[in-house]
Subunit: 661 residues, 3 copies
């Protein structure tokens, strides 16, 4: 099957928003399964994910197989018109594997084993693990690849393990040999001439284990790349097995953790038929909705179309210090926010809350309180509403005028322990810039710095410490082609080997922004601010000398940097050498966006309201607890209530309308 | 000797309050021993504990014995009428044991060894350790079991070690085999169907070592039980040896650390002839006296009669961040508080402050300042006073009207890393409830949830997350029999396998308290409070629906829980779904106690004053630095001064009276 | 060559202040070397340090040698009249060494290896490491010992490693055998009678590895001594090799880290021809200049004459949480401060800022901004100024009237985990006392407690927890000879084995200060203060009883210590039982100094101004950013500007004058 004929999410949804969640029936007696199906049907559940943690049940002893219970479940689901997202069980190997092959257990940088008794205690590099994982995947796929209940394959679960052990070291060396070919090339890329680290034999190369002092940053960077690639190898191996056994167009996915640092999701997404993500904003976080919006924007951008919300929580999770439940209405609000931003699947971990095990205080769609509990009652209401709008929603996709650039490799390179400020956290900076645009009601996509950007009116770079030459060229082309570019500090500092660019920032970028000399970076202390003639800067400031033709839009005021540029403009290229306080960043970006022709989704929207377009539809969401009346030009029909909306609409606490013109 | 003929504390006190402490004469030349005896006699010391850390001295090389120095000491004590509490030296093995048998060293969950060079570097599971410990115990007991100086056996010292190593793993498996019989039973109790943890062979089972993510909570719980049981096995083995060699009625004890999490002291106490405890409140802690009261109440309840204060400090300890000395009078005050609450022994670590070693800044009865130092002078005064009241005090015991329920297994189960709030700390909640009663001058016992409670007027459950069916029945019977029960949140959530009860809280308890549905738990953030129409709640709140016949005594006000019950009452059963701020909890409990017929020890006592009854005696203690006059109905004689007290008495700074009617 | 004929710093300076820094040309193509030399010459650089991290380059595979590149560099430097401080490369072994000899990797107390990939991953105790280090040193010395560019040998770099591993254990035992001769002596010194730690065989003795509870303090103390001694053995071995191969008078040094806890620098300095130090005050620290002054005073005192500033930063470092650059002028100011306090060499890490590796964000004399950057421009200006004053400065030395006593062994002994207050930090106390004198413009030396002190008018002991009998005698002799002594709390508590002195403080010292009884120490909590009738005390207070003839100069007021001495005087011996708040300490010490005849460098100097005499010269430095006018009696010439200064001089921001009468 050629790549362009790959199945996609539409093959699983078939016009319905998928609604359901992880189902771990191994925990329950079979009589509960029938009770479950009754409640699922009442709640409009049309999809369950089976098998995520079933390895020990499917293979209780090495090489044995017990499929009967899963046969019965698959059939039960089919009889009840509930589709099955079937998982390979390889994220949690059975105890026997660790006992038989201790080398399958990952080692941390201190040499500690990660033992069984939790989950994800597998080394991506272990040949034994890969062999056993392939075998159970093969048999599972052979047995169920043609089952009529099957709607999607789900490989492993939340890939997220590292390994510094000996077998990983051997594989790291092979990965490096493939990348560099020669030790000379590796020594050059890693800058091993410093600190006497020159390698004379491949066998000397190790993962960056515990060291006396700072580790080699390029070694650490390559180790992160290696880790992402090894996990991807594990995924691809299982994906290829299930594809081989699946006759009909059944898509394959694996679920990302939101903005997880360890996985280059741009690259992973290319290997998936469906991009799916798990999303757990803190219900108590006043900016939880923005966190959701960011992850949804990023996932949609990776999917380049509809995507799947694989896991969310109907109530509390159990891994925060204090785990808050969702107040009445919040589960519905955040679910519809995901649909507005492109989700064609709204799913949960997990269907029925566990009574035992490490996650028994993680909520389920059916909580400990059961059918009478508020949680299930709200799930049921939501199921009905999603079914009502499914036909108007699924399959549609909207691109936006603004792109935020994001790259894992740059994140990794910029996180080295020997950097100038540990106060600077890539994910926080990225989040702060997205937040400014979100609060200005400006819809955003995410893009990789080497993506074609020419369709965007505005490109925003919160921070890309390391950029390839290709990425730099891409930015130059974009601005030359008439695009507007806004770029935050610590961008273009290093190349892909984490080698500092001449002058401390790439000369082409300095020319683009009108920076003659970058004398010194002036990072700010935790509570420190830098005054300017416009706003307060935080986190960072810079001693830069502007080129003659650049315009100092905002200048530092007082102190050592008095008069130097905080915001520098050179035509359509803007450089921001500090992190403006949130309101100032929002005003700055809104102004630049307006000049670039990028407009808010709706004009005049109050704070805590969000408007999102998906295809022809306009979703308006009230993230506040007070009623708000919103102006909506023209006449629409609210798909949720059927009401006609003329010029304005009032949204109650956590209220949502889905407006069709 | 049958159990009911076992010796007790009275066999050691013989009518005198034991006064003295740990004596480690190995540190001093023999001429100092004679100086020590002179000072002991001057101070009224009648008991010393020998041998706690003498293993290397008694057995300098494997299998050798050097008893001569101890012979001389035993004789010296006998000649001076000082009784000896003789310790088995097994808490600190000599260096040769670790070198000869590295497997005797415990391993932590990360695999790190605990090396010699400190103390307590022994694995409870090591066969070699147990063998050597038994041998030295045997020889010690054979030699001194009949010595006339001997008054008590002291086994080991502050048992408190864990071990995650391989020999412990083997013993853990045997312990589990005994408990569960079959792997099926273990798999069911541990809920291994979740996360693919099913065990197919006993050899696969391990202690809960370092894992990638959350550990299996039932495995962790059983490992805590196992640890307590293994330590108890070590204790029992040595106890049985010394009993075998001891002709006269000499009781056996081991000293608890106060409210130490790792030891099920209810079960341990049953195996002791004398219950003893070490107690080190921070002299700077304004609530140090309440901490003392709690530990004393608990120890007396475990002993079901007089108990032994095995260790306290005459001055500072040396293991806090900042170690404060005791101001003038505080040592006397807290010693008499212990006597008031049932202690028949007031002892210290240690007699003479060390000049070398890890504890040389831990105070002694004779401090570095020596005989002239304030510390020794106060010890001497106390010794005289204790001798003066001994005859009226020893042997007497008082039970109280109120029981606070406490259970280690519930504590363990409720402490899992995957719980809803890490802000909730069992020991803090327990302490907060005890404090409310203590500040209301209500005297309390502690009881196990399966103890017969029918004699109590009021039973208080601060928090018992996990309860057996027997315990639940016990509570139901208690209320049905006319008892008043007050119960805090997070009680009755799980069974003894940490399996969540149906509905998230046991249905029988929900019926008892009038809870129809427990929709969601709403834990509070660190500084957050929940408003009610009566007080502010802290730590926790709940979304519960009351049954029709229950009465909402206090309701949440505002927020998501508006109108829902903070305090719910169903007849004599009260449920408190938050932790009221301290004053409110005191008022609430005082009111319920009054209704139940439980009265304060003395009416109208001001804050910082404490009144305690022991037998016929009334102790009144001033924990403040200002003089206070207290009303005491009737006429008494103060045993300390001989003065007659009519209707009122004035207590100076840290003052105490011991009143006999 | 006999010790008194050893070469010294003057053999390297030859009348010029050495100016330059670490040069790591391995990182750059050879064309850059020529560009470097041009910039060095423009900046007046006359000294570079080569080879610090060149082991892998010099010995790319075991036993191979590649000297050609270094030959070319040595010649290039010589041709350009730039002297070379040539380093043995032994601080960062090549990866092949760790692979070939894993036992060369240090182990921490938890057993973790320190792997290669950073630097300093060598065990001082490894025979293999020592063998390979000697071999490369031998060949390097043989080849370059007679090279005309060579001006100094630099052994290793910032010795600072510990090792708890097995080979270190074996060496520790040998070190202990040499020190103690018999196990009995060791057992006595370590107080092993406590906690059953008696050793019966040398093989039982270990480094103080991870333990269950507090470690033996004397064992920890000896392990610190052993570590310092092993590192010194490594140094001496390489020093002796290079001496053997060096015909002309070329001095040998190794660079200290400032006030680093692990090295007894008094003893080390005796083994060096030149004492050198690395110094990195935080540019943002308002007391950075005082930190510099302290390190400079200490280094000069160790050198007993001119010394070498081996490393400082021209801009930011990269190992703090937030790394600030140096504002304009600060590099010059702090460099001249070092010269004022005796430095005859002003050098940097490193010449050219790295583009790769772990320190690429550590500044260089040539920053990423290059020749145009402010950093290099300021370096160039400084180079010219130093050349201008060199002739008047080099070789001169000034002793002061006040000595502050400092001793590493006392620091080590007093840092045990089982001490009374973890709030008390030796280095902070030392710094606070030095600061008080510095702010009072009183010039200070540092001295060891056994040094001859009789030339000093005032001796100050901030805190010397452990003192030998010889040191105590030395203090007594000093006071008896007419000296004035001021002594802070926690002094004279223990002997050199960390055995507490009788009475808790040495009786001879108590008599000296007029302390009759030291009843109890009263450490203070973090934010707590102790009121006196003169000032607020911090950190500590004491319950002491004064002898009849002593005078209570300042008494505690209120609380438990009311009326007891905070400052006690007995003739010329003063005892301070708390840490007065900074201003009070300054006033107290200034008064005592005045009485003792020790005068400020200049009278009436405002805050933030510093005056330092070196030989005939008077340096005045403005550490503030505002201009200040200073009175300077008489007429001087400012060597930096050539201007004549009569009676007063105005210093601008960070201004400096170097005045010759």
């Amino acid at each position: 099957m050629s790549a362009d004929k790959r199945p996609g999410l539409a093959d699983a949804t078939r016009g319905r928003i998928l609604f359901g969640g992880d189902y771990n029936p191994e925990q329950w007696p079979e009589e509960t399964w029938h009770e479950d199906v009754r409640l699922m049907r009442d709640a409009g559940v049309n999809s369950v994910t089976l098998g995520v943690f079933s390895w020990a049940k499917l293979e209780p002893r090495p090489g044995e197989r017990e499929f009967g219970w899963l046969d019965r479940l698959m059939d039960l689901m089919y009889e009840n018109s509930i589709g099955v997202v079937l998982a390979t069980p390889t994220s949690s190997p059975p105890p026997w594997l660790g006992r038989l092959h201790p080398e399958t257990l990952p080692r941390d940088e201190d040499g500690r084993s990660e033992w069984w008794g939790g989950r994800q205690h597998f080394s991506h590099s272990s040949a034994a693990y890969r062999r056993y994982a392939a075998a159970i995947t093969e048999d599972l796929a052979a047995r169920y690849g043609g089952h009529p209940a099957l709607t999607m394959w789900h490989i492993n679960n939340e890939y997220c393990t590292y390994d510094w052990g000996d077998e990983a070291a051997a594989r790291f060396r092979r990965w490096l040999q493939t990348k560099y070919g020669t030790l000379d090339a590796l020594n050059s890329a890693w800058g091993t001439a410093f600190w006497s680290q020159g390698y004379g034999d491949w066998e000397e190369v190790l993962p960056p284990r515990h060291a006396h002092y700072l580790k080699n940053p390029a070694q650490v960077l390559d180790f992160k790349r290696f880790t992402s690639d090894m996990l991807l190898e594990c995924y691809v191996a299982e994906r290829d097995i299930v594809r081989r056994h699946t006759p009909s167009p059944i898509p394959v996915t694996t679920n990302f953790m939101p903005l997880w640092v360890g996985q280059d999701a741009w690259r992973w997404a290319e290997e998936e038929d469906v991009v799916s993500v798990d999303l757990y904003p803190d219900p108590r976080d006043p900016l939880g909705a923005q966190h959701g919006a960011l992850v949804q924007d990023m996932t949609r951008s990776q999917a380049r179309g509809p995507w799947m919300l694989m896991e969310q929580a109907a109530g509390p999770v159990n891994w925060r210090g204090v785990n808050h439940p969702k107040p009445r209405g919040l589960n519905r609000l955040w679910s519809l926010q995901a649909v507005a931003r492109g989700a064609d699947a709204v799913c949960y971990f997990q269907w029925r809350q566990s009574r035992q095990g490490a996650e028994k205080f993680h909520s389920g769609m059916v909580s400990h309180a059961g059918e009478e509990g508020r949680t299930y009652q709200e799930v049921k209401q939501l199921g009905a509403e999603l079914a009502g709008i499914s036909g108007e929603v699924t399959g549609s996709h909207t691109s936006n005028d603004i792109a935020i650039l994001h790259d894992w490799h740059s994140w990794w390179a910029g996180s080295h322990e020997g950097r100038l400020s540990t106060q600077v956290d890539y994910a926080e900076v990225l989040t702060t810039w997205h937040r400014a645009l979100w609060q200005a009601h400006l819809a955003t996509d995410f893009a990789h710095p080497e993506h074609d950007l020419t369709a965007y009116k505005l490109v925003v770079v919160p921070q890309l410490y390391a950029l390839t030459d290709a990425a730099i060229d891409n930015l130059l082309v974009y601005v030359r082609s008439g695009g507007t570019l806004v770029c935050g500090f610590l961008t273009g500092i290093a190349d892909e080997d984490d080698r500092v660019r001449p002058g401390g920032m790439d000369p082409r970028l300095r020319e683009l922004f009108g920076i003659r000399t970058l004398h010194e970076w002036w990072p700010l202390d935790a509570e420190e601010t830098a005054e300017t003639d416009g706003f307060c800067g935080t986190l960072w400031s810079e001693e830069i000398e502007a080129a003659g033709d650049a315009s100092v839009e905002v200048a530092y005021k007082g102190g050592e940097l008095d008069g130097l540029p905080a915001v520098l403009r050179n035509g359509r290229a803007w450089y921001v050498s500090t992190l403006p306080e949130p309101h100032a960043l929002r005003v700055l970006l809104a102004g630049i966006a307006a000049d670039a022709g990028a407009r808010p989704v709706l004009d005049g929207l109050p704070d805590r309201l969000e408007a999102v377009r998906r295809g022809d539809l306009l979703f308006v969401l009230n993230h506040g607890r007070e009623s708000v009346t919103v102006q909506v030009p023209g006449t629409h029909r609210d798909l949720l209530t059927g009401a006609t909306v003329r010029a304005e609409v009032t949204l109650g606490r956590y209220g949502v309308v889905v407006l069709r013109p």
